[in-house]
């Protein structure tokens, strides 16, 4: 036993010595706070500080009371039997009601913050993210495509439309305090408004396989002028809508979906955002999910006077091309459409 004790004490003194030497500089390189770089970060941090203060207060309170009782009421003699204390119902009720009130306050504060943060402002810039096993594809509407990197102008709210091609990933930027699971076959969206220029971490926060820890990247927040320069300097390919248009004709969609709705399929000009009545009576708004469903599983959409003859494009187009087709459909102007015959 003594040998073990000696080894252990050597180990402990070494550790303490190491600590003492570096205690001065320790505070410098122990990161304690993530950057607050988005409009909502400040509010989330306030709630976080409140909760931290609450936790430290109650932990200190409980530890303090226990140490005080341990010293004051320590056992004086081996067979000492303390007098019995009455149970105070009033005391019990106080420490039932007070925690309930505190938790209710936290609930309201957190929920108001959450509901307000969950709604992107109308004027936000649209960007598309596709998570694929162990990399992030990010597409700007202007057509620039990036892998594991995202350039955004400071101060402009950005709304991301995200999907995954295989398993569940999770788009997480700690500096902006935003995170949302990215589900295969479905769209989910987050928004943020960067308030500081700089480079910030981008992580995948939902375990997605072997290189889950490699699926990280950087978010570059630039001043508007730098961003415009970067965008212009970027690879000169067309915007997503133009790429979508090229795909639209390549895949033969234009044959049926003619703009003057003379073809076998409905004209798609200006259809985005409208509500269409289905054969069984209930109506659906035409949004990204419905357009994607039309491309991938067309005969699950029963339009009243169009026979379900559209072939499925599942497997022929990957998620990015679907997003490009959606961007193209959204870019079609309503006035090109003749009055719809619905």
């Amino acid at each position: 036993m003594a040998g073990l004790l000696r080894i252990f004490s050597l180990y402990m003194t070494g550790l303490i010595q190491f600590g003492l030497e570096n205690i001065a500089s320790a505070a410098a390189w122990i990161p304690l706070h993530p950057p607050t770089a988005s409009s909502i970060a400040q509010n989330v941090d306030l709630l976080y500080y409140f909760l931290t203060a609450l936790t430290l207060f109650f932990t200190a309170l409980i530890f303090g009371i226990i140490f005080f009782f341990m010293v004051k009421f320590r056992r004086r003699s081996p067979d000492e039997i303390p007098a019995d204390t009455k149970t105070h119902l009033s005391l019990e009720l106080t420490w039932t009601i007070i925690p309930t009130l505190i938790t209710f306050v936290i609930f309201v504060w957190a929920s108001v913050l959450y509901v307000r943060n969950s709604r992107p402002p109308e004027s936000s810039m649209e960007m598309f993210v596709v998570g694929k096993q162990w990399m992030w594809h990010i597409q700007h509407p202007e057509g620039v495509r990036e892998i594991n990197e995202m350039h955004v102008p400071v101060g402009v709210p950005v709304k991301l439309t995200m999907t995954s091609e295989d398993v569940i990933h999770d788009f997480y930027i700690p500096a902006f305090r935003v995170k949302k699971d990215v589900m295969p076959g479905r769209y989910s969206s987050i928004w943020f408004q960067p308030t500081e220029t700089g480079t910030f971490h981008l992580f995948c926060a939902q375990y997605c396989g072997t290189d889950h820890s490699e699926m990280i990247g950087w978010v570059y927040v630039m001043s508007p002028t730098d961003y415009a320069a970067w965008l212009a300097g970027g690879t000169k390919n067309e915007s997503m809508a133009q790429m979508g248009g090229r795909l639209f004709s390549q895949l033969g969609c234009a044959a049926c979906h003619t703009s003057d709705s003379s073809g076998r399929g409905p004209s798609l000009a200006g259809i985005y955002g409208t509500t269409q009545k289905m054969r069984d009576g209930n109506s659906k708004t035409v949004d990204e999910a419905l357009i994607r469903q039309a491309i991938v599983n067309p005969n699950s959409i029963t339009l009243p006077n169009y026979p379900p003859i559209m072939p499925t494009f599942q497997g022929q187009v990957n998620e990015e091309q679907v997003l490009q087709l959606i961007a193209y459909v959204k870019s079609l102007e309503p006035e090109e459409r003749t009055t719809s015959s619905k």
Binding site: N299, S300, T302, P308
Partner: protein, 235 residues
């Protein structure tokens, strides 16, 4: 100490008595209560798959209706009658033991219950499942999505995977139940059960009635989804 004496007198009262109990009455109470707690756990076990089925039926309503219409209602209803009958014969077996009738009547009812159970399984496996196999309706084993299902065709295999999971799990419970009833029948044949001690018979009865109740819910949820009046009306 007086009650100690009477208390120990209880002991030598029945050979099936277990030492950790005070008396036979407590042993039977504990046994039946234990069986009911086991059945509460079975409710949650089947409940999990029923919950998944309910969620998917809410999400993919039409494809589940199409799937349900492809099932054969006649066999389903016949099986329900057979299983409820086996529940009756099991109840009569317990009644025979409680009323002190000889082992032979108990065995007769128990064998009747087993016979009806076997008929149920026979109808299910030889008629329904093999027919579904020939019509390519078993997901994972050559399921063919038929064009006339139209829009909701893509989720019909989901309905059938639920159909085979739930009826398969129920059939598995019967396949486990039937040998146990046979063992109890052998014990009954040796006149082990009388008015005082018939706990094993009662517990098997509770288990069998539970299996019957699961089928009582399975039949409408699977076979009668949204009614049979649809165009093809099934076969």
């Amino acid at each position: 100490m007086a009650d100690m004496a009477t208390h120990n007198a209880h002991h030598a009262q029945h050979d099936a008595f277990q030492h950790q109990f005070e008396d036979m009455e407590q042993q039977r109470d504990a046994g039946t209560f234990g069986m009911w707690v086991f059945l509460a756990q079975e409710i949650m076990f089947f409940g999990g798959i029923f919950a998944a089925y309910i969620v998917y039926r809410a999400l993919f309503h039409d494809s589940f209706e199409i799937g349900s219409n492809l099932l054969n209602v006649k066999f389903g209803a016949a099986n329900t009658v057979v299983l409820i009958a086996s529940s009756l014969t099991m109840a009569l077996a317990i009644h025979a033991a409680q009323a002190g009738k000889k082992g032979k009547t108990q065995v007769m009812y128990l064998l009747l219950t087993v016979l009806l159970g076997v008929i149920f399984l026979a109808v299910k496996f030889t008629f329904e499942w093999t027919a579904d196999y020939h019509e390519h309706l078993i997901p994972g084993f050559g399921f063919i999505i038929r064009p006339e299902w139209g829009a909701a065709g893509s989720h019909v295999p989901m309905f059938f995977s639920f159909y085979f999971f739930m009826t398969g799990l129920h059939a598995l419970h019967m396949i486990v139940g039937i040998p146990i009833i046979l063992i109890i029948a052998v014990m009954a044949w040796r006149n082990k059960f009388d008015e005082v001690y018939h706990a094993p018979l009662e517990m098997v009865g509770l288990y069998w009635h539970f299996v019957d109740i699961v089928w009582i819910f399975l039949f409408p949820l699977l076979y009668l989804v949204g009614g049979r009046y649809l165009s093809n009306g099934g076969h």
